[in-house]
């Protein structure tokens, strides 16, 4: 019998021929920035899975522009596999017929345009993921053939330094390089010696010095001047009603003003309750400037970051006990590890746009495809967790159990913090999420829910805290949600007697039940009331971007 000889290294052979086709463009790894289109046309093949590194902060923006200039007659039907669709050029390649299919996580600014392109069949969406899901699929069925990434600097051998914003780079490069794919790096500068090696040169195929530094968005800076007294009241309730009784010491904060308010009253309100050294010591969160007073006053002792933040570099470098800094002194962020760290923490707290009467929450808005990002992984019970802590055991013990269940379980605290109305009197609480309509409009398999009702343990509004996990059944849970939904239609439809009894049982706690004097909820409670205050807390190490300086 004749057995055809099987080849086991087709990917390697294919990579070699790609590199061979580029050999007339460069005889090293360094490619001139006016040769990038020729390089792309040499090493990319039609139908390739391609990642154009778009994190939520740094972007391979120059290479993304160049990708729109390749000839769709030569290369087309690319399958884009990247976390963020943030730049116009990320979608231009679909309109120009270069790319067809898209697997992604999040599309903030481009959400409306993406929605239109999907309806016009110009973009064919594979799936919308969370960050960890997409990174995972890089190692399963969405391994990129070509990855186009962004970094701070490289040397002539192709060793790469990412700078503070390492972000998504490690999983992208590892999946591509170890499956014989092509890694192309855009750097701000080519130098003789890089500060530290984040990506070794043998994982890198080509390096291009961009004509200008890559774009970074300062998305985690919240000006304390904009924090309201209502946010301060809710922050007091979170500290007194959740952090204190559960000893919340390992946690993940969202990046909105509600959580900034919590951070800014740790040195004042939490200090007055004697909670320093007991709560908030270990955090998985971006280096938000509003954390500076809590770090300086000895509350927060350890922070791992998904990304970085413009202006925080010198401060982070001067606090190596707090942050994860390399031997060169600068930080290495890592979104994949930070997502994992947050997933296994004791508590997640964040805001959302809509919550229904089952406690499901969604940031989906009609006509816009926004995606998920990282919140679903942070905001879900970690079912595979096995190590215990007071918070985890306590929440598990208090939780509603399935009938006849005898096995004790722990539980992560998942807290949603919202005001009952948003701007322009739009109610946050609704009987039916817009996500259902979005599912119909875009023919999705499921409504895009950010945090599921059965994962939420606590709901915090200006009216009070609802301990949802303590409810005996779904009917009671619904009343607990209505009971803190204020004067929204959902709140007005509460069963007043039942809500009274939930208050009596401690399932709903309002400021008066928590022993909080609402007169303390003033901006005087904030450890910093302006960006300038944050600068002085940092001893001048924090250097805010121009748009945040008004002095």
């Amino acid at each position: 019998m004749l057995v055809e000889e099987k080849l086991w290294d087709t990917l390697l052979r294919n990579k070699r021929s790609r590199l061979e086709r580029a050999s007339h463009i460069t005889d090293s790894k360094i490619v001139r920035n006016d040769d990038v289109v020729r390089l792309f046309e040499a090493v990319i093949e039609s139908g390739d899975k391609v990642c154009v590194e778009g994190n939520n902060q740094k972007h391979a923006d120059f290479l993304s522009e160049q990708l729109t200039l390749i000839d769709p007659g030569k290369i087309n039907n690319l399958h884009i596999v990247q976390s963020n669709i943030a730049l116009a050029t990320h979608l231009d390649i679909f309109e120009k017929g270069i790319a067809k299919k898209l697997d992604f996580c999040y599309s903030g600014e481009q959400g409306i345009r993406l929605g239109r392109l999907i309806k016009e069949n110009i973009v064919e969406v594979g799936a919308i993921h969370t960050y960890l899901e997409l990174y995972s699929r890089y190692f399963v069925d969405l391994t990129p053939r070509v990855s186009i990434i962004a970094a701070q600097s490289a040397d002539k051998h192709g060793n790469v330094y990412t700078g503070f914003n390492t972000e998504d780079t490690p999983p992208i490069v590892e999946a591509t390089a170890f499956k014989n794919g092509v890694v192309i790096v855009q750097v701000n500068e080519l130098v003789d010696e890089i500060p530290r090696i984040d990506i070794p040169c043998d994982w890198v195929s080509f390096v291009v010095q961009a004509p200008r530094p890559h774009y970074i968005e300062p998305i985690f800076t919240r000006d304390p001047a904009l924090i309201t007294e209502v946010q301060i009241l809710m922050a007091m309730m979170v500290i007194k009603g959740i952090y204190e009784p559960y000893d919340i010491n390992r946690l993940n904060h969202g990046i909105g003003f509600d959580t900034a308010a919590i951070e800014l009253i740790l040195p004042t309100y939490a200090e007055s309750l004697g909670l320093r050294g007991k709560i908030c010591e270990y955090m998985s969160v971006n280096p938000c400037p509003t954390l500076i007073p809590a770090i300086e006053s000895g509350f927060v002792k350890n922070i791992h970051c998904a990304g970085s933040e413009l202006g925080m570099e010198d401060y982070i470098t001067a606090r190596p006990d707090i942050f994860f800094n390399g031997p060169d002194g600068s930080m290495r962020s890592n979104r994949a590890f930070c997502q994992l760290a947050g997933h296994y923490a004791d508590l997640f707290i964040g805001s959302t746009l809509q919550i229904d009467v089952e406690g499901n929450s969604s940031t989906a808005t009609l006509n816009r495809i926004a995606g998920f990002g990282g919140a679903p992984n942070f905001g879900s019970d970690s079912r595979a967790r096995r190590h215990s802590s007071k918070a985890w055991l306590m929440a598990g013990k208090e939780s509603m159990k399935p009938e006849n269940a005898t096995m004790p379980r722990g539980r992560k605290l998942v807290v949603q913090i919202v005001e009952t109305f948003k701007e322009k009197m739009q109610p946050t609480f609704v009987e039916r999420l817009d996500a259902w309509q979005l599912m119909e409009d875009f023919q999705l398999d499921l409504p895009p829910v950010m945090v599921y009702g059965d994962d939420i343990t606590h709901l915090v509004t200006e009216e009070g805290i609802a301990h949802l996990h303590k409810c005996k059944n779904l009917q009671e849970r619904e009343q607990a949600i209505r009971g803190v939904a204020g004067y929204t239609p959902v709140g007005l439809n509460r069963n007043r007697d039942q809500v009274e009894s939930l208050i009596a049982r401690g399932i709903i706690q309002r400021p008066q039940e928590l022993g909080i004097d609402p007169r303390m909820a003033t901006r005087n409670l904030l450890a910093a009331r302006s960006i300038k205050d944050l600068v002085s807390w940092s001893d001048g190490l924090y250097k805010p971007p121009k748009r945040f300086r008004n002095w």
């Binding site: 209502v230 009952t420 109305f421 200006e462 004067y487 400021p511 004097d517 609402p518 007169r519 909820a521």
Partner: protein
């Protein structure tokens, strides 16, 4: 601009007032409001006057002030509200602050 008025009660709760001066909480401004509380002979009731820059929310005001009155039971109290388009959350906070401040005048 819309002017609303409501009355709740009466409650026959006699309180020993240590201090008869009116109190004011909050500030007038966009998205904010001020609340003035004064003693008045109202046969045990509380009476509200609301001047609001946003029309069309009379039902919400009525529900907010009814709940506030049922909770606080302030007899013989005249409460004037100047609203610059505050969200219900801000209204709620200011009312809570006003109640606390008002009670401080008769509680030890």
């Amino acid at each position: 601009m819309e002017s609303l008025s409501y009355e709740f009660g009466p409650w026959n709760i006699l309180r020993e007032r240590k201090n008869m001066t009116p109190i004011i909480v909050g500030v007038v401004g966009s998205g904010n409001l001020e609340i003035l509380l004064e003693d008045a002979e109202l046969h045990g009731k509380s009476r509200f006057f609301v001047e609001t820059s946003v029309s069309g929310f009379a039902n919400t005001w009525q529900a907010v002030l009814r709940d506030f009155s049922e909770q606080q039971k302030f007899s013989n109290t005249l409460i004037t509200i100047n609203d610059g388009g505050a969200t219900p959350a801000v209204v709620q906070l200011r009312l809570l602050q006003a109640a606390q401040q008002w009670k401080a005048q008769y509680e030890d």
